[in-house]
Amino acid sequence: MTFYPEALRELVEEFQEVEDKRERLEMLFELADEIVELPADEWSDDTRVRGCQSEAHVRVSVEEGLVHVFGAADAKLVQGLMGVLSIAIEGLTPAQAVLIPVDFAQEMGLTNTLTPSRSNGFRNMYDKVMNEIRASVE
């Protein structure tokens, strides 16, 4: 299995046990609260996730060597995916965080494709977060 922190591994397995996509969506919607909210007055072009059909914003900070993610989105689905990403990387070191592959959303049965493209909001969010983590240690 790919490199997943324990919390993410459990989450992926939990989602894989649920056959009904509607149920998986409901589970994901509930994870929307897991990410620390990025208040709307801090949204800017710098925080915007390109390619999302709805407004979606993320910001990463590294304090005392640990990664913290903040985010918010109009769509519960998108904010839920932020919640998953947050569960995965919150509190890891940058070196640990950047090892997490993008595959988890597909493995959880939440996205059909992970191909980078203008319209793939999840992929763009993942890339943005990872790029900001990498930039923070350069």
Binding site: D20, K21, F29, S54, A75
Partner: protein, 397 residues
């Protein structure tokens, strides 16, 4: 065989539920005859066109050109340029006619209802040539502001207008637009991507100078479309893409060009796609399109009414000649979430800005959920959609 049963894809399930395909304004599904025609071409006749004398080349050429003949017959058009789709058709007009006929200070009239495909090529030309762009506003009734349109015509050389809005389903008053534009001395380009799949157009009497549309929105393959041009306007167009097939002679000193539509079809064309489209055009003759359209508008109108009664906002109009498109927003459920929730029960709908950002900006929104119906959709599917939306509202609102 019943019309719907001729579409193999409609037999499949999505997320454990029967597929209810309601994204027809984006692309339509293909009947078996289209799939068979393309498979048959690649299995038995694959060759390049207009070149070799061998049997396969003859069959391929005949197949490709039969598509053009059928388009000419269906639309009563003298000049039919095969393109990759509506977008290429419009870009071709911008390059082949616009560059040859528009100069700094000329004006092009567009509308806020246009798809990006009928905005961006003109913005690029305007930047290159110093041409002025004038946008006709959309009213709160989802129609073009015709008073503003008539004012905008003053000094205009070209009017570009969408036949039927892909967001609102509204069919524009094209006869009035074409007549007034011609009186003002302007050519007219009609983006008929959403119009032609729902109605037959007699291009000769319709009067537009250019009309572009795509095969894939009328049960044909993706990657192919047509640009219809009136004969006198055709003579005002200069070749855009150079290459094989479009020339008469080439020497190291220069080239001369074909005089027919091939002049604008450089390179190996979309042969299998033309053959597939040809089969789709034949197939479209197997039923009464007007009757089907009336049935679909009736369904769309009913869905729109149901959604309004559930407190949703519906953007658009569903009168006799409009398209069977229902764009809507739920008061509390985000449109992207709504589309995923519907998908989890097998319903395929579109969300987002539908490549019409200026229109959505005018409406004060950033996107809608859009259900669009086509000839294989049933009343039962529409009722299923409404029921599902009620269930989603109950659980997630």
């Amino acid at each position: 065989m019943a019309l719907r049963d001729q579409f193999p894809i409609l037999q499949r399930e999505v997320n454990g539920h029967p597929l209810v395909y309601l994204d027809n304004a984006a692309t339509t599904q293909k009947p078996q005859v289209v799939l068979d025609a393309m498979n048959e071409y690649y299995s038995k006749s694959n060759a390049n066109v207009h070149r070799a004398v061998h049997t396969l080349a003859g069959e391929a050429t005949e197949g490709y050109e039969s598509c053009r003949r059928k388009l000419k017959a269906r639309f009563n058009a003298e000049k039919v340029i095969i393109t990759s789709g509506t977008t290429e058709g419009i870009n071709l007009v911008a390059h082949a006619w616009g560059r040859a006929n528009l100069v700094k200070g000329d004006a092009i009239v567009l509308t806020e209802m246009e798809h990006h495909s009928d905005i961006v090529p003109w913005q690029m030309l305007a930047e290159e040539r110093g041409v002025e762009l004038r946008y006709v506003p959309v009213t709160q009734h989802f129609t073009l502001d015709m008073d503003a349109f008539h004012h905008a015509l003053d000094g205009a050389k070209l009017v570009c207008v969408v036949h039927t809005s892909n967001v609102l389903g509204v069919r524009n008053p094209l006869e009035e637009i074409i007549s007034a534009s011609h009186k003002a001395g302007a050519k007219v380009l009609v983006d008929a991507a959403q119009g032609v799949p729902h109605s037959t157009v007699n291009f000769a009497t319709f009067g537009a100078d250019f009309m572009a549309f795509s095969a894939h929105k009328m049960c044909g393959p993706t990657g192919i479309g047509a640009l219809l041009v009136q004969s006198e306007t055709f003579e005002e167009m200069q070749p855009f893409m150079g290459g094989g097939d479009m020339i008469e002679t080439v020497t190291t000193e220069g080239s001369t060009y074909q005089t027919n539509e091939h002049k604008f079809e450089a390179g190996t064309p979309r042969i299998a796609e033309a053959i597939g489209w040809s089969a789709a055009l034949d197939w479209m003759e197997s039923f009464d399109l007007d009757k089907e359209h009336a049935r679909l508008v009736d369904i769309a109108s009913w869905v729109a009414e149901e959604l309004r009664s559930m407190g949703m906002t519906v953007y658009g109009r569903h009168e006799e000649h409009d398209a069977a498109v229902v764009s809507f927003l739920h008061p509390t459920i985000n449109s992207e979430d709504m589309a995923h929730l519907l998908d989890s029960r097998g319903f395929a709908v579109r969300t987002g800005h539908h490549c019409a950002q200026p229109l959505l900006h005018r409406l004060g929104i950033t996107g809608t959920v859009r259900a669009s119906f086509y000839v294989y959709n049933t009343r039962e599917e529409a009722e299923g959609l409404v029921e599902e939306l009620k269930e989603i509202t109950e659980k997630f609102a």
